[in-house]
Amino acid sequence: MPVVLLSCYPAGPEYVEDVDVTYTTYDQKFDFQSRGTYAMPDKIVVDVEIEDGDTTYIYMKDVFATPILAAIDDNMKANGWAKVGLAGTPDVVVTPAGISSTTYFYSYWYDWWYGGWYGGWGWYYPPYYTVSSYTTGSMIITMADPNVGTDNPINQSQTAWIAVGNGLFSGAYDISRVTKAIDEAFDQSPYLKLN
């Protein structure tokens, strides 16, 4: 009977989208309403390489980055923000970044050898290695006021808003999961709404 019962144990998540989460947090002292313009880079950093002290950014391919950046622009515009270039002294800068992380499960059977005395025969048991892994990806968007950096002891602008969309990589590169997370991030952050 336990076998029968196990076979009908609740299924849990069935699709990769089922484990997608969107997280946002903000600086409650930051006055979003007194700002109105933003600047955003036209590339998304996915990795950083440091070689001999030189830092190189690795960027997301345009085919993925373009819809993501467009989704952020659409949401900012819908919330009443105006996009300007860096030269236009924006009130805030919005910086998107993508990271991935892979977790490996790894197990193996020990090699073993049977000696005995029968003519010195031995059997080596082939070691079996089983490896499985899952990869999660996170889309991180931060918003900060570049103009308040000078008010800060370490000359950095504190982040006013962070949004993280996290999910499992499915291999299908379905960018709509990311754009959906961006929409959700803005939906759950009503304080960003200026209009």
């Binding site: 009908c8 849990g12 484990v19 989460v21 969107t22 947090t25």
Partner: protein, 198 residues
């Protein structure tokens, strides 16, 4: 673990007395949550089973052990949860595994008759394991609830050695430990067979 061991010991002692009149019941158990459990999972459970053994100490009184397992499950739709300045949106998958383990006694109104209604009462523990899954993480909360279990039901003989078993039980697990801060209770409807050993 200590509790499991003592229950195991009682099982052995009781099993030693099997040669006397006794019955063994296996049933399918449907669960309907109450109280705190219903707040956590509102859906009824159709995954469960119980096993019980009763030794007849009087023609109309049986005592023995009851074991059960009921799994409650609910998939919540995508919702936002806000704490302070932080908001998290995602799907929650909720599970509650409940294992009642009780010493019980039944009073049979019509022993030997084809239709034999009974009332019962059990005292013991319910092991509760509650999981809240979100993203790739689970929040696991456990409790060993001291429990009582009133029961009403009937046996309907189909052959000399077997009877249809139908019962309703209320599993009342009192608050225990500090991981779950309320009673864990649910009603079950059990349908199965009793095997009589005369």
């Amino acid at each position: 673990m200590k509790k499991l061991l003592s229950i195991f010991a009682i099982t052995l002692v009781t099993y030693g007395a099997l040669n006397a009149q006794s019955n063994f019941t296996v049933s399918y158990s449907m669960g309907f949550a109450a109280g705190d459990l219903a707040d956590f999972i509102s859906q009824a459970s159709f995954r469960g089973a119980t096993m019980e053994f009763r030794k007849m100490v009087q023609p109309n009184i049986g005592v023995g052990l009851t074991f059960g397992w009921n799994v409650f499950y609910e998939e919540l739709s995508r919702e936002s949860y806000t704490v302070g300045a932080s908001t998290l949106t995602g799907k929650q998958f909720r599970y509650s595994n409940n294992f009642p383990m009780l010493l019980g006694g039944n009073y049979y109104f019509s022993p030997g008759e084809k239709f034999n209604p009974f009332v019962g009462f059990g005292v013991g523990v319910i092991y509760t394991r509650r999981n809240t899954d979100m993203n790739l993480y689970t929040l696991e909360q456990e409790a060993w609830n001291f429990a009582i279990q009133p029961e009403v039901g009937f046996l309907y003989s189909v052959t000399d050695g077997a009877a249809l078993f139908v019962s309703g039980r209320f599993n009342q697990g009192f608050k225990a430990g500090n991981e779950l801060d309320a009673d864990q209770s649910y009603f079950t409807l059990n349908v199965g067979f009793s095997f009589l050993n005369n």
